[in-house]
Symmetry: C2
Subunit: 335 residues, 2 copies
């Protein structure tokens, strides 16, 4: 996937200028743009007197593998995960900055695919948001570093530390679907040996919507501002699973969270990560905004930080650690 074929050309052959000439036309211009990329820096409008910023790297090996993800998936997923962090503050994403390093022998089609995934992901999840700049370099494996800016127009940011006893705990977006997709991919990869063929991957993707969701999740970005305007007391994105992220929210807020007992036997919904939905708390009695569904209630701090149907859970997973969990560098895949 990362190597050029007879019909394609490497970024080395194109050079930086030729590579940029192929990629830049694919990327959407941010509606906020005042001075586009090309000068020393870009300039874009930003309402509200403050800026929301987040950053996430995706690296071939620890974060994705090209027998599972297409380049388009990599670009799209980088948008979903980063946009969700801005949305989780109750902010509107206004622009992204994308740095890419790859081997010089990488096919231009890989970078074009990533650019199209970025463009399509922005169009689908944050229309109006565009690319404010970036950088190209060389590295031994493909490394994508994305920074997203967002604006808060007229309301304070929604923190994870604001949950109050009595609040309704609600979720927008999928729960556990990405995990189910991951399991399908892992199972078929094990059966196939160590690497999934492109054909098998495409078949799995057509047959199992959860595989497509794992590889290129659609996150409910616009609902971040909606939740803030509806008075959300606390919010965060669900990247490491409902239980682990609810635990973080409860600890930051000094409360406990009791999740709905109906979730008790749904391990993927409780533990599965990478759906990039939103976890939000709303004051007792308030109507939940469309797109959110109640999954629990906030209680006073208690013996257990998070319970399900009133019972404690033995949480075994502590989230993905890029240093500890990569058994050898860049061969492991984030669970």
């Amino acid at each position: 996937m990362a190597q050029p074929t007879e019909e394609t050309v490497s970024v080395r052959a194109l050079g930086e200028r030729g590579t940029l000439a192929r990629i830049l036309p694919l990327l959407p211009v941010a509606r906020s743009t005042l001075v586009p990329p090309g000068d020393d820096a870009a300039v874009s409008t930003l309402e509200g007197g403050s800026v929301v910023t987040t950053c996430d790297m995706m690296i071939e090996g620890p974060d994705f593998r090209f027998d599972w993800s297409t380049p388009h998936d990599v670009g799209w997923k980088a948008m979903a995960s980063n946009l969700a962090d801005v949305a989780a503050m109750g902010a509107t994403p206004t622009g992204v900055i994308v740095a890419v390093a790859c081997p010089a022998e990488t096919s231009i089609e890989v970078l074009e695919g990533i650019a199209r995934g970025i463009a399509d992901g922005l169009q689908a999840m944050a229309p109006g948001c565009g690319v404010l700049g970036g950088d190209l370099s060389t590295a031994s494996e493909l490394c994508l570093s994305v920074t997203v800016l967002g604006e808060l127009a007229g309301h304070p940011p929604v923190l994870r530390s604001g949950a109050q006893p009595g609040d309704v705990v609600a979720v927008a977006g999928e729960l556990g679907v990405s995990e189910r997709g991951l399991r399908v991919l892992a199972e078929h990869t094990e059966q196939a040996g160590e690497v999934l063929s492109e054909q098998s991957r495409d078949v799995l993707r057509d047959r199992h919507p959860e595989v497509a969701h794992h590889l290129a999740p659609t996150a409910p970005i616009a609902l971040g501002v909606v939740a803030a305007q509806a008075g959300a007391s606390a919010m965060m994105d669900i990247s490491d699973g409902l239980v682990l992220d609810a635990t973080r929210m409860a600890e930051a807020s000094g409360v406990s969270i009791n999740l709905d007992g109906a979730l008790k036997d749904d391990e993927e919904a409780l533990m599965g990560g990478e759906d990039h939905g939103l976890l939000a708390c709303f004051p007792e009695g308030s109507a939940l905004p469309e797109g959110f569904r109640a999954v629990g209630v906030v209680g006073a701090p208690g013996e257990h930080v998070v319970t399900v149907g009133g019972e404690a859970l033995a949480v075994s997973r502590g989230g993905w650690d890029p240093y500890r969990d990569s058994s050898s560098v860049n061969t492991a895949v984030s669970p």
Copy 2:
């Protein structure tokens, strides 16, 4: 340099949380911070209704080598090169976002050194600017991706396209010093074989201020706003050498630039890159702000875009191309 010794510990042994616990206390908090890193995203104040953004990656191999640069140098230089791009718009840097990927076996001392270099570089060049967030991951070689935000308080951005015939061309900061330092390093490395010893590097650095400047340049960041307030018509940072960057400015502005004939025999000043000084044009007759010195005049578009003492130059270098100029990936060093 990148490997842990008996007395040090790897980031794998520390894990992500332990690594962050060692690094975060070293990084300066931005004066603009409203919500510090730790939630889904950070929030910081931003004056003026617009945001200036730039991004640059530094990768072990194509961009730096650890027998020349200390980790502190790498962090410092990443600040100099990125802050200079914000300053060149006439803006004040308000915050940086730093993503770092490295092999899991990397000594924590390397990341601590980079963090101290970032802190010291910010303190020296852009006091008040701090770290708004970032990310840690694993990769085969050390990869640093830096995004800087800046604010324009009350004046429009200064573009490279605004130079007018009659303008004075001026420079702030060093010219050619980094190139002279690079030549000293390259010469001694060739004499030593392929790798410079730590001891030799330290001796060179003590004896040759230009070596220290090449490895950790001090860029005149505060002079960006000063130039804007003094009415600069065009500005950019000098990263690829005076002649090449003046050519870019003249082409963007549709003018010609005649550099001072006194520079004619100073090849390093004309062609040397990585000083990260500022190249600015000021209207004819205006007093240059302190810190700037005249190096030429802007003329009408002519046969030659850039001349020195009225004579055309044969410009042989087209700037560093990360894809074409890395003879094999991550073994070459940017000239």
